[in-house]
Amino acid sequence: MAKIYLDHGATTPLHPEVLEAMKPYLTDLFGNPSSLHSFGREVRKGLEEAREKAAAAIGAEEREIVFTSGGTESDNLAIRGVARAARQRGNHIITSAVEHHAVLDACLGLREEGFDVTVLPVDGYGMVRVSDVEAAITDQTILISIMLANNEVGTLQPVAEIGKIARGRGVVFHTDAVQAIGNLPVNVNDLHCDLLALSAHKHYGPKGVGVLYVRKGTRLKVFNFGGSQERKMRPGTENVPGIIGMGRAIELAVQELDKKADRIRKLRDKLIAGVLEIGDVRLNGHPTERLPGNVNVSVRYVEGESLILSLDLKGIAASSGSACTSGSLDPSHVLLAMGLDHQTAHGSLRLTLGAGNTEEEIDYVLSVMPEIVSRLRSMSPVYAGQRRD
């Protein structure tokens, strides 16, 4: 049976060229980059080249790049780091209801430390209103954190506008660009952000490595202490092979962006149109302002996990925002924030396309979906009530 991977929002396969770049650093080039001898110096050189690549990819300077263990650490370092550093100036933080938990829970956790956290609502497409951000800023506001692209429904946020407002009001602005990089242009100056989080495994790099961009002059109070690696913002011997992989992956992601995004967007639109044809299927997220590879739909009368299991039996890998797959008793906080009722949220299905997907694969998915949906609907008590036959 053919296997079709449509879960690039969860993670992506390693680009072959990334693997090639990493190999020497998993074998011969094992030195500690902090060592003064040739073994260390050679690795240091590779590390700094990776930093140059990451900086160039987002329009930053090299010394503004901090390598971390991934998106989660980058978000936490940004949010908690700023909160602690700016404590004297104010205690108010603004974020949105559709953030990844790495941002949302980091912000909410600060409430326990006496911070006042505003969680902005979103519209039906999952988009934050710029005017809401503006209205929420007070003289106590020290940080705004709004993601660039949503990981569940793919909605793109008006981050550049929000960044401009934050800059004008003198508030530090963080954006989680984990899902955006490689899918749309990401430039820290165009976005007017002070902090920006990235994760290599979402753009064909290795897992367990990420970047936090920290604009010069932005003060962070760190919580880990040790060596002076990463300008003391991330002490500890570096994940060298990972960082080398991140550098190469982000370089490729930017180089291949135009070519890849257009092709994937076409496949996405075909997939959306085909799935909507099944009937009683709703597109979640914005119709156009969305990630090129993101398809998120709610299939009425059926539950998401059972859809995923059925697709998996046909070799298709997908995900859902249903409670059973979100790991809690509630369905996805993103879908609920968008105003979906529980049934619709439980019936959500996310198919995220990537570089390797072909039109034949989309055709195959569309050929098996109707049967899967009608089988599950035939078992559903909520559907039985709706039938007109």
């Binding site: 009368y301 059926v302 539950e303 998401g304 996990e305 059972s306 299991l309 039996l313 249903s322 409670a323 059973c324 790991g327 008793l329 509630d330 369905p331 009722d341 529980h342 049934q343 439980h346 035939s378 078992m379 559903s380 008590p381 909520v382 559907y383 039985a384």
Partner: protein
């Protein structure tokens, strides 16, 4: 994460559907947590479950537990069926993932509700008979 038996029941669920003239119907779950199970029973003179059907909105575990419980009690007396617990249903499937034991393992409850429904109706019928006999 699911056992082979869960996947087998998910793929080929037994006794899906409804019974138009059911003697009892039981429903458990709610849309908030994403599981709704409905079980219909047909009971004969000897208090034996002659036919049983289910409809379920829910995850793989919800569908598999509904399916297997219908198999476990078809042909059993109501008293025997009332002995079946959610725990036994999970065991029959070779176990369920930890996070499914609570929310998606309610098939025995749905069955018990169907039996209760049947018995309540019988009591009501009897008292009706008495009244009309007066």
């Amino acid at each position: 994460m699911y056992t082979e038996k869960v996947m087998e029941h998910f793929t080929n669920p037994r006794n899906v559907g409804e019974i138009a003239d059911a003697d009892g119907m039981g429903e458990v779950g709610n849309m908030k947590c994403g599981d709704i199970m409905r079980i219909y029973i047909k009971v004969n003179e000897q208090d034996v479950i002659e036919d049983i059907k289910f409809r379920t909105f829910g995850c793989g575990a919800a569908i598999a537990t509904s399916s297997v419980v219908t198999e476990m009690v078809k042909g059993k007396t109501l008293d025997e069926a009332l002995e079946v617990t959610n725990k036994q249903v999970a065991a029959e499937l070779g176990g369920l993932p930890e996070n499914k034991l609570h929310c998606s393992n309610l098939a025995a409850d749905a069955l018990h509700k169907a039996i209760e429904d049947y018995r309540n109706k019988r009591v009501a019928e009897k008292s009706n008979l008495k009244e009309t006999g007066k």
